[in-house]
Amino acid sequence: MDEEMKQYMDDMAVFEEKYEELLESPVYHFLQPEKERILLPLLSILHKHHSFRSQAYRLVDKLFKWDDSKALCNYPYLAVRLFKEFELKSISDDQVYKVLHSSGTTGQSSKIYLDKETAQLQTKVLTRILQHWLGKSRRPMLLIDSPHTVKKTGGMTARAAGLQGLSFFGRSHTYALDANMNLDIDKVSNFFEQFKGQSVLLFGFTFMVWHSFIQQLQKHNIYFELQDSILIHGGGWKKLQKASVSHQTFKQQIQTQLGDVRVHDYYGMVEQTGTIYMECEQGFFHCPVWSDIAIRNPVDLSFLPFQQVGLIQLTSVLARSYPGHCILTEDLGYIVGEDDCSCGLKGKYFKVSGRVPNAEVRGCSDTFS
């Protein structure tokens, strides 16, 4: 045991050192082979860390017939469903600082246990990713949500965590919706009037941006003339798909109602909070330096080549307090390519095409129906 402990401590010391360096790395700069060279040793230590700290993970590791060859996506991966059914954590109870919940209204929600360190890492990484797209300065910010979303007590939902994380990028935060999730038109008009001519930041969950904001403005024939502004939204397209709203219609309608606004979707989930995949101007999601994606055949879980739709598997070196470094999602998507997106960003880029049929209803924006 002592020997094992010593080895563990040594590994973690190496990890810390490399980690510091990685956190300061440019977000979309490395070509895929270089990126793998950087991430592999970290992932290997992280794997040992979770095996050492989490009994459940150790069991999975033992049962998992995994290919120990040097590839990022070969490590044992946990289906996100497991985070709903079990308390998976690699810290002791007294180290739990915050528990994140997915905000599903039906069935169980995932529980993600964070210690202070992991929570800070998530904030730091989210900030680093967003700085790439927004710069370091903060903009007047309109949140397309109700202030009550963040005030609810008890465990924190992914939506509240998203709002809080993003609010670091704003100033003069203004919530566009009231307690009943209705658009407060006067408040929104005053906000745009007050910051007329300035670049503002808008943020909200995709379905709410559409349903509670853009469609309401449309209905009331209200138009604004924003300049050089940015809207970031996420949480999934499922409801918009049902309503047959295409990405193109979504963007166009936003620009019709609001004026000069750059629109960026993002993909992410509570199991890997902080690591978000931002949509570039070409309409593709990009992996940041800390994470990687693979696609698996939903039937036999074998890897699928680029362009083929399958289950999205995500690898991230940020999950330290819980064994979420390799997860198999219930989302379907495909990798478009690597290192050659015409937007210029390096690494893999991908599209999300929906959820696995029969997957339990879940997702950040799905709480509002």
């Binding site: 600082y97 904030t123 370091k136 903060r138 100033r171």
Partner: protein, 80 residues
């Protein structure tokens, strides 16, 4: 009012804590009152009080009262 007093007042009112609690070593997330929501209120308070514009790095780096002083000093506020 000295800048030190202004700082103590900003922290005390933004976090809703007693002025005596505002010590250099007081750290972000070390007390329930200083969570991420209060942090944004604090940032707005400091910006208003000292007439500075803090960027996202400043917000992330502001991990204690002492660190806040350091960051404000960088923005030209003196705590002599």
């Amino acid at each position: 009012m000295s800048n030190q007093q202004k700082l103590v007042q900003s922290f005390s009112s933004a976090l809703a804590i007693a002025q005596e609690q505002v010590q250099d070593l007081l750290a972000y997330n070390s007390i329930p009152e200083w969570d991420s929501t209060a942090h944004m209120i604090l940032i707005a308070e400091l910006e208003g009080q000292f007439d500075v514009m803090l960027d996202t790095d400043d917000i992330i780096d502001m991990s204690s009262v002492g660190k806040a002083k350091e960051i404000l000093t960088k923005h030209g506020v003196s705590f002599e």
